[in-house]
């Protein structure tokens, strides 16, 4: 308590600073000096346009745009944040500094999109649902070849087709204009068009990982490792220190079917396996995550230096594999892809109203403001990375048997009123980060802040107000949109399905048709929350109301087998993993409504690829609806988890 009070006191006096030479992005109260200004006499005729024959000034491109919500960073946190915000009614812009979407998961870096990928004891996942589930399933449908560049485009399609969402690539948010403790606009530089963008909005979300814009806005943050005492963390060092887990450069190798030579480049750094502890070189397909470098002071400052060294270390390991003679089985393997952009694990952790720590995770603390979950192990990498071969590359302190909650109060700034975060930069200790940094967990945070942002815009409130007065509304919307919140059952008063007089279905193989309105949309904690048809398809479920109800939306959560991982692995599939659309997924269905005693088909889907199936149609007055299910992607019966009906 004392510590948080201290932070709040500091927050009240935070001052925005600008470290970058983009003078026009200083505080709105400061002087504005424009960029790209030439002081030569020839400036008026600098650009000879041969097409027009004119000689004109070099253009100064500067644009101002306004949105409801600005999301910075389009990785696995930023994409769900932007899509959730847009779908919930806020005019949203998604700003990404790279040409590809996906952040660490993009084709530029290729980090596996892990989530709660294997809980103890059975190594089965508890897969994240919601928006991340949607695009991972879409990737299985549209990118069966598991091409990373195609995955980039699957994501690009996913965000650019969203009607309320603008996507800006090659654009970096490098500063913030402030009005007191509120961000007025994000100042961005678009590399490809040489254009400065001033993006105004009432709500900002920094999902960029490093959080440059948030830092420039003055949001308080910390780096390094907390000492044991501060949060009573078993796995923290005795005393605080500055270490931040490193970034990794990955590679992919390919079996060429014939011996392939390898000559390392001049920047290679030799790898000494003899001195190395617990670094496996067992397979050559998806690279070596432990080719990693961090820093014990300012990791951002040394990123370029580290990148160069990481490229050297990567080739050093591969040189060892190919040319040391210890791995003759690598003879036919050749490098098929090598990264040039390190995937980062840790840098700034911004301070929120709550700092998530180890005890919260391992003791499964219940939060009234829970918005999602995590469950990756406490996977803290060693101080030093590949330059500290004496320690194992990760300590894997603790492995979870069940998932833990993530609270909303870790996702907004303690001192910048209209700023939220999602991803590795949220309010947490270094040890908590070692688990929550996993992209599936980050995606749930993203969907939460995106949804919260839309509520903020609609209600004209700030993120902190969400906790105080709208947290149930946020949780209900998240659960409606297929986010699972541990130990919380949905109870949306607008859901007409819950008001049905009766619900029944075809004969039951397992579960109970009443489970479809119990508010829990996955089997968990040893309890069944589904209904599964007994006979081979087709199957039906019917809801009936005593008096006609106005309905314009029907939302169904079907089975996508959350006990299998579906992300691309870059290596042979595992038994807890699937490389196709899950055979359980409902493929073909329609919905009929009984209007004036007659069954009328109101919507249908021939080739569904989502777990949450949303139908929207012209409002009808119906006394019953009937969902007719005809095919899955392979399984002969169908399993559902939820049915909702709305007129909103």
């Amino acid at each position: 308590m004392e510590r948080r009070k201290f932070i709040r006191n500091i927050a009240g006096t935070a001052i925005t600073t600008s470290l970058l030479p983009l003078a026009s992005c200083k505080s709105i109260n400061g002087n504005v000096t424009e960029i790209n200004v030439s002081n030569d006499l020839i400036e008026d005729e600098q650009w000879h346009q041969l097409g027009t024959g004119k000689k004109v000034k070099n253009p100064l491109r500067k644009k101002t745009k306004s949105y409801d919500v600005v999301v910075i960073g389009a990785g696995m946190a930023g994409i769900p944040a932007a899509v959730a915000s847009a779908r919930n009614g806020a005019k949203t812009v998604l700003i990404n500094d790279r040409p590809c979407l996906g952040g660490n998961a993009s084709s530029e870096i290729r980090v596996t999109v892990n989530g709660v990928a294997h809980l103890k004891p059975n190594n089965l996942p508890e897969r994240e649902t919601g928006i991340i589930e949607e695009f991972l399933l879409e990737n299985r449908a549209k990118n069966q070849q598991e091409s990373y560049p195609v995955w980039d485009h699957v994501l690009y399609d996913f965000v650019t087709r969203e009607p309320n969402l603008t996507v800006m690539l090659n654009t970096q948010a490098i500063d913030a204009e402030m009005n007191g403790n509120k961000i007025v606009s994000a100042c961005c530089w678009q590399l490809t068009t040489e254009t400065e963008f001033i993006i105004k909005a009432p709500i900002f979300i920094d999902c960029s990982g490093d959080g440059l814009m948030a830092a420039k806005a003055g949001a308080l943050y910390r780096t390094g490792r907390e000492g044991k005492a501060e949060f009573n963390e078993t796995y923290a060092p005795d005393k605080p220190d500055g270490w931040q887990m490193g970034a990794s450069i990955l590679m992919q190798a390919k079996d060429m079917g014939r011996p392939m030579p390898y000559e390392p480049p001049s920047f290679v750094i030799k790898y000494d396996e003899e001195k190395s502890t617990k670094r496996k070189i067992k397979q050559f397909i998806d690279g070596f995550w432990w080719v990693e470098l961090g820093d014990d002071f300012d990791i951002v400052d040394v990123q370029e230096e580290n990148r160069h060294k990481l490229m050297g270390y990567l080739h050093g390991v591969w040189d060892h594999v190919k040319n040391s003679g210890k791995y003759p089985e690598s003879a036919n393997y050749a490098l098929d892809w090598v990264g040039s952009l390190p995937g980062r694990r840790e840098s700034r952790r911004f301070i929120g109203d709550y700092i998530l720590s180890e005890r919260d995770l391992v003791e499964h603390k219940h939060f009234e403001d829970a918005i999602g979950f995590g469950g990756w192990s406490l996977d803290e990498h060693n101080p030093g990375g590949i330059e500290n071969l004496n320690d194992p590359p990760s300590f894997f302190h603790y492995k979870f048997k069940e998932i833990y909650q993530v609270p909303f109060r870790t996702l907004y700034s303690v001192n910048i009123e209209n700023l939220m975060f999602a991803g590795r930069n949220v309010s947490q200790t270094h040890i908590a980060l070692s688990s929550t940094r996993i992209q599936g967990t980050c995606a749930l945070m993203g969907q939460a802040v995106g949804t919260a942002a839309a509520i903020c815009v609609e209600k004209n409130v700030l993120p902190r107000d969400i906790v105080q007065t709208h947290i149930k509304e946020l949780q209900e919307q998240l659960m409606r949109d297929d986010v699972y919140i541990p130990k919380v059952a949905a109870n949306d008063p607008k859901d007409l399905a819950k008001k049905a007089s009766t619900i029944f279905g075809s004969s039951t193989r397992s579960g109970d048709v009443k489970n479809l309105i119990n508010g829990i949309s996955r089997d968990i904690d040893g309890k069944i929350n589904h209904w599964q048809s007994e006979e081979d398809l087709p199957a039906k479920v019917q809801l009936e109301w005593e008096a006609p109800v106005s309905i314009s939306k029907i939302e169904i959560k079907c089975d996508s087998n959350l006990k299998k991982n579906i992300m691309m692995l870059k290596q042979p599939s595992r038994k807890n993993h699937i490389t196709t659309i899950p055979p359980e997924l409902l493929k073909r269905l329609d919905v009929e409504a009984r209007v004036q005693g007659n069954w009328v088909k109101v919507c249908s889907q021939e080739k569904n690829i989502t777990r949450l199936i949303k139908f929207k149609f012209d409002q009808i007055e119906a006394t019953a609806i009937r969902i007719n299910m005809f095919d899955t992607y392979g399984v002969k019966t169908v399993k559902l988890f939820e049915i909702r009906c709305y007129n909103d």
């Binding site: 892990n114 004891p121 870059k570």
Partner: protein
């Protein structure tokens, strides 16, 4: 791979098996079955000999086979022959080693006495974590302390709770678990079905363990035996255990039309809710021609049914017995009962050919409830 896996037959083995076999006094005949099995650790299917042990009545009472203790890829493992026993419905019972033989862990460590017990527990657990792993995940476990997972690669090295494995012997556990709980289980069920007499099948149909019921039904279908005696037994069981109805109807729909309709009628009239629903669904889907008189009889039950039962039965009548005067007469009283049922009855009647008096009745219902229709 384990093409080299040779299954040795009991005839050549020492007497240790017969001495220890619990049912030896009952066993009068051993029948050898050459079968081909897939094992997830093998590239190609493997032929093994499954020994069926029958009692003096020809009833299979147990099965056993001999397998190698471990799939060995580098030819450096110690392999011993392990005999695995199942009961007659494929439930694992125990394993035995040849006299003096021991199982080995990684790096020449031997199994402790406790390890043998734990291995038995693992093999008996049909939901063991070993069900969910691939061989290559096992093979990466050279030293359990070096097997790590990282967020970047997503490599899922095998990590099991100590209670779920014999540390250092994951490959043995994996190998044996899949022999014990793999395809052989359904093969044993089939063999048992094939071996038993019709009289024994009758016993299977009433056995408390429903696995016997499933075996009997599958076998009766293969034998195309739809005698009244079996049908009566199946009806009796279906009235008692509604979760067996689907399997029962799968069988009954192969019977003669008379026997099928007899069974359906008995299950509907004597059964409770699940029997009524399942029977009605079956009648909706059956290709047999069903007479109006037969269906009219069902309509006498409307007043005793709940909404779902009424709705489904009306669907049947609408489809296969429209405009039946008897049905209409039996449905009309529903208009004055529970509203949801009444409304469903109204819509049914609205599409039927009614008398003037009946028309008046439903118009009256419409006037009274038009806001809720």
């Amino acid at each position: 791979m384990i093409n080299s896996l040779k299954i040795t037959l009991s005839l050549l083995l020492p007497l240790w098996f017969l001495i220890s076999f619990q049912t030896k006094s009952m066993a009068v005949k051993n029948i050898n079955h050459k079968i081909v099995l897939k094992h997830p650790g093998e590239d190609i299917p493997v032929e093994v000999t499954l020994v069926e042990v029958q009692d003096s009545d020809g009833l299979p009472i147990a099965y056993f086979t001999d397998v190698e203790s471990v799939i060995c890829l580098e030819q450096v493992c110690k392999i011993v022959s392990v005999r695995i026993y199942w009961n007659n419905i494929g439930v694992y019972q125990k394993y035995e080693l040849e006299n003096g033989a021991t199982l080995e862990k990684y790096e020449d460590d031997l199994f402790d006495p406790e390890d043998y017990k734990k291995l038995h527990t693992i093999l008996a657990n049909i939901d063991s974590p070993y069900k969910e792993v691939y061989l290559d995940e096992i093979l990466t476990v050279v030293d359990e302390h070096t097997e790590d997972i990282d967020a970047v690669s997503g490599a899922t090295a095998l990590e099991l709770d100590e209670k779920d494995t014999v540390p250092g012997a994951a490959l043995t556990c994996f190998t044996l678990w899949h022999w014990v709980n793999g395809d052989i289980v359904s093969i044993i069920k089939n063999k048992t079905g094939e071996s038993v007499s019709n009289k024994q099948l009758q016993q299977f149909l009433v056995d408390e363990n429903e696995t016997y019921f499933y075996i009997a039904i599958a076998e009766l279908q293969k034998r195309k035996n739809y005698s009244k005696e079996f049908i009566d037994t199946i009806i009796k069981r279906g009235l008692k255990d509604d979760f067996l109805l689907r399997t029962a109807f799968n069988y009954l729909k192969g019977a003669s039309v008379e026997n099928y309709l007899y069974a359906a009628e008995t299950l509907f009239f004597k059964g409770s809710r699940e029997q009524k629903l399942t029977t009605t669904r079956s009648l909706i889907n059956t290709d047999y021609k069903v007479s109006k008189g037969y269906l009219n009889n069902f309509s006498t039950q409307f007043s005793k049914l709940d909404y779902q039962e009424v709705s489904l039965l009306l669907e049947l009548m609408q489809d296969k017995n429209p405009n039946s005067k008897v049905v209409i007469e039996n449905v009309l009283p529903l208009l004055s009962g529970d509203f949801i049922i009444a409304r469903r009855a109204y819509w049914f009647l609205n599409n039927e050919t009614l008398t003037t008096k009946q028309e008046r009745e439903i118009k009256c219902f419409y006037k009274k409830h038009k806001d809720k229709l």
